[in-house]
């Protein structure tokens, strides 16, 4: 457990209701509840920093870190959807400061972009209804869940994993 890895990916709707939360490894564990709490806690950070964001930058960077082990990074789209990636820095309890700085600024941009693309593909599905489908508006699209899993598992620091999801908007045109 020396390299940082993604511990959890969460998407939150504009109304601050959870859209999707995916812990890694994905088997349900007691940690899932913890991630829910942690994600929930990020909302305040988003709200607090929002007035300071004038330039339309989506990247909120490091939101906070806990125990020098988990660090939460945030991304806010222009439509108010929040994407939170929680990184397990892999330093364990006593890793010290070196582990705490394991993820460089901006290194997660690729991950966020890929997640946003996946989200765009999701909402472009004509059968998708935000907040619909029961279960409190949680996304049930298999393709989206699968894509999030792929992004989360594929990422490695410095490797730029998680990118490569086909970008929406680059297709050709039809007559």
């Amino acid at each position: 457990m020396s390299t940082p890895r993604i511990a959890c990916i969460a998407l939150i709707s504009r109304n601050n209701s959870p859209l999707h939360l995916h812990p890694f490894p994905s088997s349900p564990s007691p940690a899932t509840l913890k991630y829910h709490f942690l994600t929930h806690a990020t909302l305040d950070v988003f709200a607090a920093r929002l007035p300071l964001k004038f330039n339309g930058d989506s990247d909120f960077g490091l939101l906070y870190s806990i125990d020098e082990e988990l660090a939460a990074y945030g991304w806010l789209t222009n439509t108010g959807v929040k994407i939170v990636v929680i990184i397990d820095l892999g330093g364990g309890g006593g890793g010290g400061s070196a582990a705490g700085l394991g993820v460089k600024d901006g290194e997660l941009k690729g991950v966020f972009r890929a997640l946003q693309t996946a989200y765009i593909r999701l909402v472009c599905n004509p059968f998708y209804e935000e907040g619909g489908g029961g279960a409190g508006g949680v996304v049930r699209s298999r393709r989206f869940v699968e894509e999030v899993r792929r992004i989360g598992e594929g990422w490695a620091p410095g490797g730029g994993g998680g990118a490569g999801a086909g970008a929406v908007g680059e297709r050709g045109v039809v007559g």
Partner: protein
Amino acid sequence: MSATKAARVGEDVWKTRIDKVNAELVTLTYGSIVAQLCRDFEGDYLEVNKQLEKMGYNIGLRLIEDFLAKTNMGKCANFRETAETIAKVGFKVFLNITPTVTNWTTDNKQFSLIFEENPLADFVELPDDGRAQNELWYSNMLCGVLRGALEMVQMQVDAHFVGDILRGNEVTEMRVTLVRIIDDELPPGED
């Protein structure tokens, strides 16, 4: 007209005479039509298929005139030529795709169009209600378009999908059958 010539005509017309429009606009427009129909008919997917086909038919009646005006094509000599023209000129010109023509029956009256890509169905995941996967033909409007267009050029056809990647089939395949050649109508008898 040979298949290669058809491909060339299609390419040429698409490049020079077609106004282009953003693909997502088309995809999302079509998607909202289907989704709205599904809501309006409360998940009666067989009825949705029917409505899509009907809408397509009405489009086809008009689209064929535009097609003829743009491509300046004459009559096809036989149904094989028609199939090549549909795939390599028609779909190319209007959707920028060229489905494969295959699976001819021996009497040359039935063929399949295999769609490697389908711009209408980008982004789409069928509703997970256990029925849509078996009942809804998402792109059924295309069948209607073919039926309407061919009817205007004196061919009555039956077109329906037999497979769709959205449903989990291996390929998206449409089966087209020539029912009959429509005779010229005679003017109503006078006196």
